[in-house]
């Protein structure tokens, strides 16, 4: 195997990891603040892709598609959290069944609205084509995904680390009851985090729709990946989401390239080993 193979596969893994970061960072924060196992998180990714697709086809604007997808799905998330999930605080099984119920409904509605054919979100001319560095070829769109993930990651880090709202979120992650006790409106923080997480997943869906496509079943396909990222990285940890995304992106890519028959095994088995050594994930504290 040549050096080009390793470079190209590593880059593919990193760029897939970048997409996973968009999907999983929100899930991780939601976990951290609300301890909710949200099985509809993959649906946000898929619905975001579909909404983005429709907007991109109507307006020819990729930026508008990203915005519309993220905002629309953030609103869906707000509705779910406020009217259905909030009353299930602490009931793990109830949350699982409720969110899977929503996931099935979303899946069927998407099939009803957009049909069963796979689509690709049209991407701007600027982002097509490749860059050649030495012997290796890098698609510009994948570089763009990495850039978006870096920007989003930095923005999240700054917001969490340097702002008052971020401090409130971190307090709620550490101990929701104490945070409530010192006057933080935890339900409102939870709602905001849920909306942010849903919106980020949808943004991932629009951007991912540019090279993976949008199709029925994408929701349940990405969901386990998001879970593995969160498990490996640790609940509610932003650095954990970064490390987990990169690790999962690389493992998945090399697994598929080197051991195609065992590719999911090569993804989930290392996760099990990490868990056996560190039950709370790489960066988890709780």
């Amino acid at each position: 195997m040549s050096a080009e193979f390793w470079i190209a596969q590593s880059f593919n893994g990193i760029s897939y990891g970048a997409l996973l970061f968009l999907l999983a960072s929100g899930l991780s924060l939601i976990f951290g603040v609300m301890r909710i196992v949200n099985l509809a998180h993959g649906s946000y990714f898929m619905l975001g892709g579909y909404v983005g697709l429709t907007v991109a086809l109507r307006t020819q604007s990729f930026v508008l598609a990203c915005l519309a997808g993220a905002v629309a799905i953030a609103l869906v998330g707000i509705g779910m959290e406020r009217f259905f999930l909030r009353r299930l605080r602490g009931e793990v099984l109830g949350q699982v069944l409720m969110t899977i119920g929503f996931a099935l409904i979303f899946q069927d509605l998407a099939l009803l609205i957009w049909g069963g054919d796979p689509y690709t979100v049209p991407i701007p001319k600027l982002l097509t084509g490749t860059v050649r560095v030495g012997g290796a070829v890098f698609p510009i769109y994948r570089i763009f995904i990495v850039a978006v993930a870096v920007v989003v990651g930095l923005a999240l880090w700054l917001a969490m680390d340097r702002t008052r709202v971020g401090a409130m979120i971190r307090a709620a992650v550490d101990d929701a009851e104490m945070a409530q006790g010192v006057g933080i409106n935890v339900p409102r923080v939870s709602l905001a985090v849920f909306a942010l997480g849903a919106g980020l997943a949808a943004l991932g869906g629009v951007i991912g729709g540019g090279f993976l496509g949008v199709y029925p079943g994408a929701d349940f396909e990405v969901l386990p990946y998001a879970f593995v990222v969160v498990i490996v990285g640790g609940l509610g940890s932003l650095p954990g989401a970064v490390a987990g995304s990169l690790l999962v992106g690389l493992l998945d890519n090399f697994g598929k390239a080197l051991f195609p028959e065992l590719s999911y095994f090569t993804l989930f088995a290392p996760m099990a080993i990490i868990l056996a050594l560190r039950p709370t994930g790489l960066f988890g504290r709780i």
Partner: protein, 307 residues
């Protein structure tokens, strides 16, 4: 209380046994399917209802059992007993390995780990094409012969499955009322207290996890014979979650409730999908409705009313 419930269950079993020959072919096959899923739902109830661990990967054992039967019958023409033994054994082994990872965790972590472990089996079913034929699945699994009796026709096969389900129900029923089962209930109530009383909590949970996998695998072996076809769909996350729904719908911690829940879901799935394409929409509504209106399940709701 236990005696009255056992009598009621015996009555239900008698009715199920008597109506077999009188049912038309299609309702009978649906009933057979319900009986098989009843075993699966009861096996999850041992873990969820009695031990308090909600697993999101229960389809793994079901799938391992089903795939073992599929491969052994189509590639090696093995008999029923050998297939059942091998299917259950491999499912047990899977649960024994998974349990080592999963039992360390509690709550949401347990859910996520079992989800990921379940996906390992799905991934193998989907990708290990040389063994499992991948997405195409394995077709052409013949109906079995037991001690010279052919179980090919719907009625004998129905009786075979019913007998298996009754056997599984009796075994699991004995398990949950045994001192071990009471220990599990104690753990569900308060793990710390059981630890302080000197119980080996880890071993109790681990044993329950493995036993739950044993019966899950058992139902999977029957499913392969029933359906004549296995595919990665049998192992996917939705199957695991649907099993959780069966348990929650019927009422967890009652064994008979989850069996009832399995019956309801199987009948809904088969009959509603005849009339409408929007089955998923309805199923999603059922999930949400159960949580909003019957959080302790049908059996729980009935008991609550009686008091």
């Amino acid at each position: 209380m236990i005696r009255r419930r056992a009598l009621l269950a015996a009555g239900v079993i008698a009715v199920l046994a008597l109506i077999g020959p009188w049912l038309p072919a299609y309702p009978l096959t649906v009933l057979t399917q319900a009986v098989i899923f009843a075993i699966l739902a009861m096996s999850l109830d041992v873990l969820l209802g009695y031990t308090g661990l909600s697993s999101l990967g229960h389809a793994a054992y079901f799938g391992v059992g089903a795939y073992v039967v599929a491969i052994m019958t189509t590639e090696h023409q093995m008999g029923l007993l050998a297939c059942l033994a091998a299917g259950v054994a491999l499912a047990t082994l899977t649960a024994a390995v998974f349990g080592l990872f999963a039992i360390r965790a509690t709550g949401t972590y347990f859910l996520m780990i079992t989800l990921a472990l379940g996906m390992v089996i799905w991934g193998l079913a989907y990708r290990w094409v040389s063994l499992t034929k991948g997405d195409n699945g394995i077709a052409g699994i013949p109906r079995p012969t037991l001690l010279g009796i052919e179980l090919i026709a719907p009625v004998p096969f129905y009786y075979f499955c019913l007998a298996c389900a009754v056997l599984a129900w009796v075994l699991m029923g004995l398990l949950v009322i045994s001192p071990f089962g009471l220990g599990l209930r104690g753990i569900r109530g308060s793990e710390g207290r059981m630890q302080a009383l000197g119980y080996n909590v880890w071993l109790h949970k681990y044993t329950a996890f493995v036993l739950s996998g044993v019966f899950g695998g058992f139902s999977g072996t029957l499913w392969a014979y029933y359906n004549g076809f296995v595919s990665p769909n049998d192992v996917q996350l939705v199957t695991s979650v649907e099993t959780l729904l069966m348990v929650a719908l019927g009422g967890s911690g009652t064994l008979i409730g989850p069996a009832l829940g399995a019956g309801i879901i199987v009948f809904l799935r088969n009959f509603v999908s005849v009339y409408t394409k929007r089955w998923l929409l309805i199923l999603g509504g059922v999930y949400i409705g159960v949580i909003l209106f019957a959080p302790s399940g049908l059996v729980g709701a009935l008991r609550g009313r009686r008091r």
